[in-house]
Symmetry: D2
Subunit: 279 residues, 4 copies
C-alpha cells in the first residue's frame, strides 16, 4: 500500500469576510494488485501526484465545510473512481488558525495561530464495507496544580515511589472517538461539546475541582462524561502522556520548599491509555 | 564563558486560588579568568549545578512576579555574589499556561497551554556597566488572506517573480524591545499593550484591514506603532519569517482556481528583519 | 494499559577497554484489572517508577549483550513477577555510539555518535502465549542519483505526472522483521547481514547498479533478498518514505539544466510499505 | 535586511561515476535603502525568488567544488551585480551523503546519509571591506566513558555538586574557524585535518586517553592543537554543549552500582564556549 501527505490552504469569501482552513491531508490506499511489487508492472499504481491533484480538486470544488465531510468526500471519491482500490483511509488535520479580534470586534481577513489542541479526523473504508468516521483532538496540554494524588498502588521489593496525595497532574491529551451513523451530524458542534466535556472532567468544578486518585481514573472520567453527554459517540480512545514534576529538595540550601518550586522529570516518561465503548 | 539552562515550575496560592508560572531560564556567565581553559585550574569556575541551585532558590524566595523582575534578580545576584564574574546575561522564557475557564468562570487550579506567542525577556550586565533589560514575544504566527501585495521590486535578468497585488501574507513574528530606565515599570502591562500594537499594525482596522505593500513595510508599521504608543520602549528588533503560498494552477485539471486553493512553498523561505530606535 | 520510556547508559569494562550501550527502553503493560479506571483503586497498578527501577536493575545485573536479549529479559521478568500483567511489550532502541579510531587504531574509551540507521527491537508476549521477537533498522537514508524511473502507471483525467526513466530515488527506510524460534540466535550477526542485504538490494552491483522501475519494486527486492539469505527471518515489514526531487526548469534563465540542479518537493510526500512473509 | 534559505541537490558525472552534493544555502542581504520600510517603495528590493534563482544558477554554472568556494562565488556575485547591496553573508551547510561501499568497492551512484558532524561554511563581506571566510563542523557528538573529572571548583553556600574524578564526558561539539588569506587553499583537506585534530584532542592517545579536568580544558586543548597544526586557521570558536550523566543510586534496590548504569540529567543543561586566536 502507499501513503501520501499534502498540506494546503482553502480560502473562501462571504461578502467582504474571508474564511480560511489550512489542513494536512494524508491519504492511504491499498490496491488489489501485487504486480507492482513483484514485476515492476505499474499499470494499476495511482501516483502520489494524482492523489494530490484529486485532494486539491475536491477542496476546490466542495470546500471544507468540516474536516469530517471533507475526509468522507475523499474516501468516497477513491472508492468510486478506482476499482483497483480495496481500502482507503483519509486523515485530515487542521492548522489551528483563529480569527483575530480587536477590542472584541472580529477582523474580516486576519488570523492568528492558536495551537491549544489540534483537531483531526479520519475516514476509513474497505471495499464492500461501511465507511467509518473518527474525529479527535490531540496535543491538548493540561495541568492541575493540586487535587491529584497516587496512593495504595502495588508494592514489591522494586518499589521506591512514595505515596503522594498532593502532586501536580500534567499531561498531553489525545482523544479520538468514532461515530456510528454519520448522516445529519453537526460534526463541529459535537467536537466543541466533547472538548468541553474533556476540560470539565479533567478539572472538576471551577470553585473546588475534584480529586484525581490516578491518571487512569481521570482518563476514565473524561470518557464516561463524553459517553453520557454525546449520544452520537460510539467508542472513545484516550491517551494521557504524563509529565511528572518533582518538588526540589532544598534542605541542603537551608530552605523548606513546600511544593513551591518543582522540576520536570524527563525520565521516566509515562503514558496511560484506555478505549471505552457503549455496551 | 559558560551557559546553563533549567526549566521549572513556580507555584503559589492566594486563599484557595492557585497560580503557576513555568519558565525556562538560561544563565550565561563570563569570568575574569582563563586558567580553567589554560591550566585546568577550576578554582574560580562556578559549576552549572551551583547556578541551578541559585536560580531555584531565588524563585523560591522571591517568586516570579514578572519575567523581567526575576531576570533582574538573577543578574544582580551573580554580579553581587561572585567577584570573578565580569558579565552575566539571563534569558527567561515562559511556558504559556493559561487559567481554564468553564462557562466564563475561572478555575481555581486548572490550566491549559495556549502557545499563541511565547513571552520572553533578557537582562544583561557587564561589571561596572548598566543593567539592560529586553523583553519580547516570539513564535507568534499571523496570517492575512488578502490586502497584501508585492509590486515594483528591482528587476534584472534573474527575476522571474510576477508582481502580485493580492497575495497571502503569512509569517512567524519575533519582536524584542529594550527598556531605558527600569524602575517602576509594569512589565506585564506594557507587554500586553505591545502585543495589541503588533496585532493592530499587522491586521489594520477590523472592518477593512490595511494594504501591505511588502513584508518590510508591515514590519516597519509594527515598530512605528509601538514606538508611538509605548514611551518606555527604546529600541525594537522585529523579525518576520515568511511562509509563501502559491495559488495552485488547475488549468490542466479543467478548473479555474481563483485564489481558493494554495500550497505552501517550502523553499525559498524568507525572513525580513529590522531594528528601529528613537532619535 | 500504560507505557513508560526510560533512557540510560550501560558501561562495562574488559581489562582497560571500555564498552558502552546507550538505549531507550519503552515498556508497555496491560493488566487484568479495570478497577483503577472505574473506582480509582490502585492496588494492582505498577507505578512507572517501579518499571524504571526494574529495567535499570536488569541492565545492571545482566548487562545488554544484545538489544534482543535485553528485551526478552524484561518481558520475561514482568510476566514472571506480576500475575496481574496479561500483556507486555518492550521496545529497545540504541543510540548509535561507535568506537573512535585514530589512524585505524580503536580507542579504549572514546566514542562518536554515527546515526546512519537506528537499531531497535521489540519483544512481546501475551500471558499463555509465545514470546515473539522483532528486530529492525530505521531512519536509514539512502539515495540513488540514477537508474530509477516510474513509467506505465495508471492514468485518468487527474493524472499530470510525466513518465520518467531517469529520476532520483531517495528515501528513508524502515525495516522490521520477526524471528521464529529465538534460541541460539546471534542477533547482532543477523542484523548486520540484513543491513548488507538492504544496501545491496537498494543499490545493485557497485559497478553498474540495477534499474528500479518503482519504489514498490525496490521495497520488494529488499525483502526478497533478505528472505532468501537469512533463514531465521519469518516476516519482514518495510516502509520507504520517499523524498521527491524536481529538476529545476532554467529555461527562463537562459540555461539548459540536464538533471544537474534539483530541488526537493516537500509536498506531496509519499510512502510505500509492504509486509512479506514465507509461505 | 532580509534572509533566504534554499535547499537543493547538485549532481555531476565523470564517466559513469556520479557525484552528489546536497546543500542548504542561506543568503543574507542588507541594502543601502530604507524606503521599502518607510514608504513601501520596493524599487531596490531584491525578491527572495531572485536570490533563489541566482543561487541555483551559480550552482548549475560553477558546480560546488567545495562549500567555501561556492559561498565565495555567491558573495561576489551579489556584491558585483547589485550596487544597492552593502552587506552580504552566505551560509552553506551540507547534507552528509557518503558514497555507499559494498565489500569495500565504491558504488557508482548510490549514497547513504551519515550525519556524524555537519560541515558548514560562511562567507561574509561589507562593501569596500575584505571577504572573510569561515568554515566549521557542528552536531558532532562525542563521549568519553572515563578519564574525565571536575574537581577543585569554586565553592560557596550554594554549592552541592560533589567533586568527581571519574565521570562521563559527553557533548555535542560546534567548531568554527576563520581563514586569513583565502587564495590557493584546499578547503576540504584542511577541514579533514581539523576534524582529526578535534577527535585526537578530545580522546587522547588510543591506548590510554588523556585525563580531562574540565570541559573548559578539553575545549582549549582542541583549539590549541588546531592552531598548532593548521597554519591557515586564524581564529577558532568552539562550543561544547554538555550532556550530564548521573550514576543511578541502587542502594534501595540492594545493589552496588559501580558506574555501570547511568541516566542523562536533562536539566541543568550546560554549555562551554571559547574563542581563541593567534597573537
Amino acid at each position: 500500500y502507499g501513503k501520501n501527505t499534502i498540506k494546503f490552504l482553502r480560502l473562501h469569501r462571504e461578502g467582504k469576510k474571508e474564511f480560511v482552513k489550512e489542513v494536512e491531508v494524508c491519504t492511504h490506499l491499498r490496491l488489489n494488485s501485487a504486480q507492482e511489487y513483484l514485476d515492476g508492472n505499474n499499470s494499476l499504481v495511482i501516483p502520489t501526484d494524482t492523489i494530490k491533484n484529486i485532494v486539491l480538486l475536491l477542496a476546490k470544488k466542495k470546500g471544507i465545510p468540516t474536516l469530517e465531510e471533507f475526509a468522507i468526500d475523499i474516501c468516497e471519491h477513491f472508492m468510486t473512481s478506482f476499482c483497483q482500490v480495496v481500502y482507503v483511509k483519509t486523515y485530515v488535520q487542521e492548522v489551528p488558525w483563529q480569527r483575530l479580534h480587536e477590542n472584541g470586534v472580529p477582523h474580516i481577513h486576519s488570523f492568528i495561530c492558536v495551537p491549544d489542541g489540534i483537531r483531526f479526523c479520519e475516514a476509513e473504508q474497505c471495499r464492500n464495507g461501511p465507511l467509518v468516521v473518527f474525529a479527535g483532538i490531540k496535543d491538548l496540554k493540561l495541568m492541575k496544580t493540586t487535587q491529584s494524588g497516587f496512593e495504595g498502588f502495588f508494592r514489591n521489593e522494586h518499589t521506591t515511589l512514595p505515596e503522594r496525595n498532593d502532586r501536580i497532574l500534567c499531561g498531553e491529551l489525545f482523544c479520538k472517538w468514532s461515530y456510528g451513523e454519520c448522516r445529519n451530524i453537526d460534526f463541529d458542534c459535537i467536537r466543541n461539546k466533547i472538548r468541553e466535556c474533556i476540560l470539565e472532567a479533567f478539572a472538576g468544578p471551577p470553585d473546588c475541582g475534584e480529586y484525581s486518585p490516578s491518571y487512569q481514573k481521570t482518563v476514565n472520567s473524561i470518557q464516561m462524561l463524553i459517553l453520557s453527554k454525546v449520544p452520537q459517540v460510539q467508542v472513545i480512545e484516550t491517551v494521557l502522556n504524563n509529565t511528572f514534576y518533582n518538588v526540589v529538595d532544598m534542605k541542603n540550601l537551608g530552605v523548606t520548599n513546600d511544593k513551591e518550586v518543582l522540576v520536570p522529570v524527563e525520565t521516566p516518561y509515562g503514558s496511560c491509555a484506555c478505549t471505552l465503548g457503549r455496551k
